[in-house]
Amino acid sequence: MSDVNRIKKELKECSKDALMEKEVVWASLVSEANLLEWIGKLKGPVGTPYEGGVFIVDISLPSDYPFVPPKMKFRTRVWHPNVSSQSGAICLDILKNEWSPALTIRTALISLQALLSAPEPDDPQDAEVAKQYKDQQQAFQQKAKFWTETYAVESKCEADTIAEMVEMGFPEEQCRNALKAAAGNKEAAVAALIGDI
């Protein structure tokens, strides 16, 4: 049995963080109805090829959470030795045997962000990326940067539009999805969101 109270408290903590500008990780529920499906986001660490990107992480809480680690997977494509370039699967000790129930989704996301700045090529998830990281550092940097720009950077105007929609009182994730569905047309996206309600 997962601890509903604990999850709710974590959610509360996370929503506080979301208001803070300087925060580097955020987490929220995918839908209000399900406490076990989360979505996390983290900023690419400054001074790395991931800088400037916002990476989306799918989080699924097992029924024994927090005694069993949460399942995390990058939805945004990342070029990194410890992340599968195909599936987004993550190789990180605290998400496996080093997990402790005193850790939280937020701390796990922070560890994940730390992993982006300090790859561990000797314990790789993606052998191809790890090999490039070790043998051709420059090519690796370029590719990681290219992937960040291609998959993880929201264009400035898109971000502004979403911010405006969020101010109208819609959840951010829904705004992003609606905007995508409406091919960037703000009016159509808002109409779709209102229609849904």
């Binding site: 601890d3 109270n5 604990r6 408290k9 024994d64 927090p66 005694f67 069993v68 605290i94 402790s100 129930p101 005193a102 850790l103 701390t107």
Partner: protein, 512 residues
């Protein structure tokens, strides 16, 4: 069924004295067969504990620490005393910290007997201030902590430990304080103070026993694989078949059943093959027939019996029922499908051989049927043990023999079992043996001899009490055991001489 004497002539490996000496004398003169290969010893639980205790005591004296600390250190260093002492003398603090041993002020909080002990001093239950548990985020006064003082409510601590025990098995002894970065290992005191289910606590207690990790971490020791048997076996690394005093036989290397003379890898391959190929075989046998001309396997996919071979170089048309050419089935031709023709039956097996896949399958099946045959016979030999008791009693009643006089029958039965047991695996071994070559001939010769001797013994033991003669039986089972030893030695010599050609043989002989 051949006689033992006739095969002696070309038996190079067995001792020549057997031909001349009286079989009765032989069993007293010669060493017990198993003795020669038995390089393992059985240790019971108390002997294991004594060995482990001795190591712990020595470390305790050497490092001047408590017994508990010495046990934890040894467990942590996997009983490598040299490495432990070297690192300890170099940096004791680091070693203690890594092993999760608490140093400094004791901040332990443990509930027991209606009271709560804080840092070793008892105070009444409920006298603790409320704190927030870092796992459930609830506030309560019912919490525990290890020496490090990191508090977690008892409910969460219990669930945490229950998960550790279930997920990590005996490795739960290395479970640490739930606080990230804290490496303190959980204490027995704390585990016992919490309301863990009895089965979980039992696993933890078992895991903590020093002899448990002593045996588990020692490559020369292994627990007997029989359920509930607490004995351990000591054998050199890489040793294969061992037998516990409880009767359990297993392979020291792979923990599977004893599979001499074939190797662990061969057994594993064989098991996979049996799962796959027996199925394939069954399916092919029930759904396909070999083309009478080119022997390609053909599946019937319609109701019509007029088959055309799809093999482009064959295109043979035939009748599915009688496998005869279709042209003789046509109206006007002589129709013979309904008649039994014994000549045809003779031709068929020949035709089948043409198809390589079928040939490979049949080769496999040759070994498989012999393997299963001995395997199934083994079950009867187990039943025979019980019957033998009856026979011995009957003998006692009939004549002037005492029970002691008749125990040779039990030995004979035991020898029969051992031979059959090994025989089944000789077929697995032979299957993976490269085709041709002197060794194969030699091996098969020994195998034949063992098999003949075994069958002879089996037959002898199934006779009526009045027809069983002691001298005959003793001679027969001694011979069988000798032949078994010869075979195993032959294999052992090859294994030590050229271990590499096994793999080459397996590749070339198994699949088409």
């Amino acid at each position: 069924m051949s006689e033992a004497g006739s095969s002696d002539g070309y038996d190079e490996m067995s001792c020549s004295q057997e031909d001349t000496s009286d079989p009765e004398e032989e069993i007293f003169d010669s060493e017990p067969i198993r003795q020669q290969t038995q390089t393992f010893t059985v240790l019971d639980a108390s002997e294991c504990l004594a060995l482990a205790q001795k190591e712990v005591d020595e470390v305790r004296e050497l490092l001047c620490c408590s017994e508990e600390v010495a046990s934890i250190l040894m467990r942590q260093f996997r009983w490598n005393r040299e490495k432990l002492t070297e690192e300890y003398l170099c940096d004791a603090d680091k070693v203690l910290k890594r092993a999760g041993i608490h140093q400094g002020e004791n901040l332990e909080i443990v509930h027991a007997d209606g009271a709560v002990a804080v840092g070793g001093t008892s105070q009444p239950r409920g006298s603790l201030p409320d704190v927030q548990c870092l796992i459930c985020y609830e506030t309560s006064a019912d919490y525990s902590a290890l020496g490090c003082g990191h508090q977690f409510c008892n409910t969460c601590y219990t669930t945490f430990l229950a998960h550790k025990i279930t997920d990590e098995g005996y490795n739960c002894v290395f479970a640490t304080c739930p606080k990230p970065e804290c490496s303190l290992v959980v204490s027995e005191r704390l585990v016992h103070s919490l309301a863990l289910p009895a089965d979980k606590r039992a696993i933890f207690d078992k895991a903590r026993r020093i002899e448990r990790s002593y045996v588990d971490d020692n490559p020369n020791l292994k627990w007997c694989t029989a359920a509930g048997c607490g004995n351990a076996i000591r054998a050199p690394k890489g040793h294969l078949g061992v037998k516990c005093s409880c009767g359990q036989r297993f392979c020291f290397k792979c923990n599977d059943e004893d599979h001499a003379p074939c190797s662990c890898e061969e057994l594993a391959k064989w098991m996979v093959k049996c799962r796959d190929d027996s199925e394939t075989y069954n399916w092919l046998m029930s759904n396909t027939k070999a083309c009478p001309k080119c022997a390609t396997s053909i599946e019937k996919n319609g109701g019509c019996n007029h088959m055309t071979c799809k093999n482009s170089s064959c295109k043979f048309e035939f009748c599915w029922v009688c496998l005869g050419p279709w042209r003789i089935h046509r109206a006007g031709s002589y129709y013979s499908c309904n008649r039994y023709d014994p000549e045809k039956e003779k031709e068929n097996p020949e035709a089948k051989k043409k198809d390589s896949s079928r040939a490979a399958l049949e080769r496999y099946l040759h070994y498989y049927t012999r393997f299963t045959n001995h395997h199934n016979s083994l079950k009867f030999e187990v039943e025979a043990r019980a019957k033998m008791e009856e026979k011995i009693k009957e003998m006692e009643k009939q004549g002037d023999k005492t029970w002691i006089d008749c125990t040779y029958l039990k030995d004979a039965n035991e020898a029969l079992y051992e031979c059959r047991y090994a025989l089944q695996y000789t077929y697995v071994y032979a299957f993976y043996l490269p085709q041709g070559g002197n060794f194969r001939t030699h091996f098969e010769m020994n195998q034949t001899e063992l098999e003949q001797q075994t069958e002879q013994l089996s037959e002898m033991l199934e006779k009526d009490v009045s027809e069983i003669h002691r001298a005959e039986v003793v001679h027969c089972f001694t011979m069988a055991k000798t032949r078994l030893t010869n075979l195993l030695e032959l294999v052992a010599v090859r294994g030590s001489g050229s271990a590499t050609d096994t793999s080459g043989g397996a590749g070339s002989s198994s699949d088409p």
